[in-house]
């Protein structure tokens, strides 16, 4: 029943809501994408430390991205966005790669080549958000997903029966089922390392401190300072994503500093935990069940009337 309590507690202290009377501060990630250099050390460190099996050595055609997105075999995913800002106003969408013909360069043939600085190259390391109100945790029917004393969300692999309910419940597309294994997997925020007082492998490996690990309160202060610093220096597009405890998931345990709209990075612009609407869903389901029963009664009543006639 921890998850119901979880839903009712809005103070952003999921560990207390999860039943931990005495617990360490809530830990999380602040991923500052403005200093990400796309080295993928986080992806590699995560794979190595957590023994995440190989899940395809692919050339996706999506810039330098070759892991495509978060899933059962990718718990840190570095996104690469190449966008031209030369057209004025909003940069045009990079066309999805079809894997076919190479587009002509320069685009449009006889137009003068644009200055190099007009290509903006965004890089961002994505990860499980460890939501305050976690849909995956709420819908898990076995109790395999649980809230740790650090306020993070972890799968107990010895319990998961692979029902897959958490997969479409996650508003960020993080957790997924490993096909040859049948169970679901995602970032644990290196629960084992945290227990031993170490920082998660990805944060440890990050050479530019783009991935910062620490108590969430501290990270939020640091992030607010950083976004202010960037605004002062003229990077008006810098914004925090997932840091607001008033958002649809009660704030993320792993939040980001982005340099463009969230959807440009493949993130939902306004995620809401699906269980927010669950009380209403249960009421509607109850009403529909009642309607069905009433319909059945009516079916027999009408038949009895017809018989008497």
């Amino acid at each position: 029943m921890t998850s119901l309590l979880d839903m009712l507690t809005a103070d952003g202290d999921p560990a207390s809501a999860g039943g931990y009377a005495d617990h360490p501060p809530r830990m999380g990630f602040f991923t500052d994408t403005s200093v990400c250099i796309g080295c993928k050390a986080c992806e590699v460190a995560c794979k190595e430390w957590n023994h995440v099996p190989e899940d395809g050595l692919n050339l996706t055609g999506m810039s330098y991205d070759n892991s495509a997105g978060l899933g059962a075999g990718t718990w840190r995913h570095v996104a690469f966005i190449e966008r031209s800002v030369a057209s004025g106003g909003r940069p045009p969408q990079t066309p999805p790669s079809t894997g076919g013909s190479i587009p002509p360069y320069p685009p449009g043939g006889d137009e003068p080549p644009e200055p190099a600085l007009d290509i903006r190259w965004l890089m961002a390391s994505d990860v499980c958000k460890h939501c305050t109100h976690a849909a995956c945790l709420d819908v898990c029917p076995t109790g395999s997903l649980f809230r740790t004393e650090f306020g993070t969300v972890v799968v107990q692999e010895d319990i998961c029966n692979g029902c897959g309910y958490c997969v479409p419940a996650c508003p960020y597309g993080v957790i997924d089922r490993r096909e040859d294994d049948g169970r679901v997997w995602k970032c644990t925020l290196c629960y084992d390392r945290l227990g031993a007082g170490m920082e998660p492998a990805c944060a440890k490996a990050c050479p530019t401190d783009s991935i910062q690990f620490g108590p969430l309160d501290e990270l939020r202060e640091r992030a607010a300072r950083r976004v202010g610093q960037l605004h002062e220096s003229g990077v008006a597009a810098a914004r925090l994503y997932g840091e607001d405890p008033a958002d649809g998931v009660g704030g993320d345990g792993a939040f980001f500093l982005l340099l463009d709209e969230p959807e440009v990075y493949g993130l939902p612009p306004d995620p809401v935990v699906t269980t927010t609407d669950l009380p209403a869903m249960w009421r509607r389901a109850g009403a529909a069940a009642g309607t069905l029963a009433a319909g059945a009664v009516a079916a027999f009543a009408v038949a009895a009337l017809g018989r008497r006639r």
Binding site: V35, D65, P141, N161, G182, A236, A288, G295
Partner: protein, 366 residues
Amino acid sequence: MTESDVTREGLRGVRPGSHAHPGRNAGPWRRRRRGERPMVPPAEFTSYYGKPVINRPVWSSPDIPGYLFLGGLAGASSLLGAGAQLTGRPSLARTAKAGAFGAGCLSMVALVHDLGRPARFANMLRVLKVSSPMSVGSWLLSGYVPAAGVAAACALTGRFPLIGAAATGGAALLGPPVAAYTAALISDTAVPAWHDGYPEMPFVFAGSAATAAGGLGLLGTSLLAASPAEAVPARNLGLFGACLELAAAARMTRRIGMVAEPYHSGRGGAYMKAGEVLAVLGVAGSLAGAAGPPLSSAGQRFAGAQSLGRLLSGPRGRVVTAVSGAALLAASAATRWGIFHAGMASADDPKYTVVPQRERLARRVA
């Protein structure tokens, strides 16, 4: 390192990497972006290389749409079975109770088969979580299926009538929740076409369940019953179900706007359309089958009506009724498959996730 110098003592004025200024020297970008942080969402829709935002459900067909269909068929059939027993319709009662138990079992088989670790299916009963419709449903089914089994066994063997009556009552009580909870189950996800339809989805499911149970009742009584009067409640339930199912689905797809597109196009749209056509055919056929005997007596004046009457009464009337019942069953299944595939399509295209969320943000800012 634009503000640091290398000296004999080392670096002076060095800034850690995490304090770097991205785009500090990127003149055009900085000029353009200064002071124009967009507050109004852009008209065009953007995504990361067209990749979906949410992960596609790992549920597969026919397991999960079959599970939705069979759960509905079972739940509503238990109501029909209990009513038939109360009103003295033995063939309808046997059909409905056997159908309820069979569908309930198959529904559980489909659910277990779809698990990544089927051997661990019992972990479903490890906890009871109201926040998880799948947990609630597992508990419901584990109470319902045994009750439906005892009810069916007693009805078919004619033994232990009291135990049979109690089990029939229990199954009829649990039947409607069994038929309706799966709507909450699929709506309680981030899949746009499922989540956004949550107010109407349970009514679509309840209607579809009644359609299926009515269809099975018609099919069974047309083959087994001595008197065609036994089929009347099944026909009524099928009519009620088809109307509820079609009306609720129409209301849902009208309300949810662009997210309803997958219900009208592609595989989901094809199944939904098939469901509508089959439901209309099934209802029309069952009414024609019912109108058979009176039509044959009143229609003496017309030669054409006479032959129609012969077709609809007697053994051929039974065929029409049986075919109508099968059409209603198929209609219910087609709706479930349609909803399943529409949800999958809405998960695969990021626009169904991003555009409604953008609109919601714009409304909040306004």
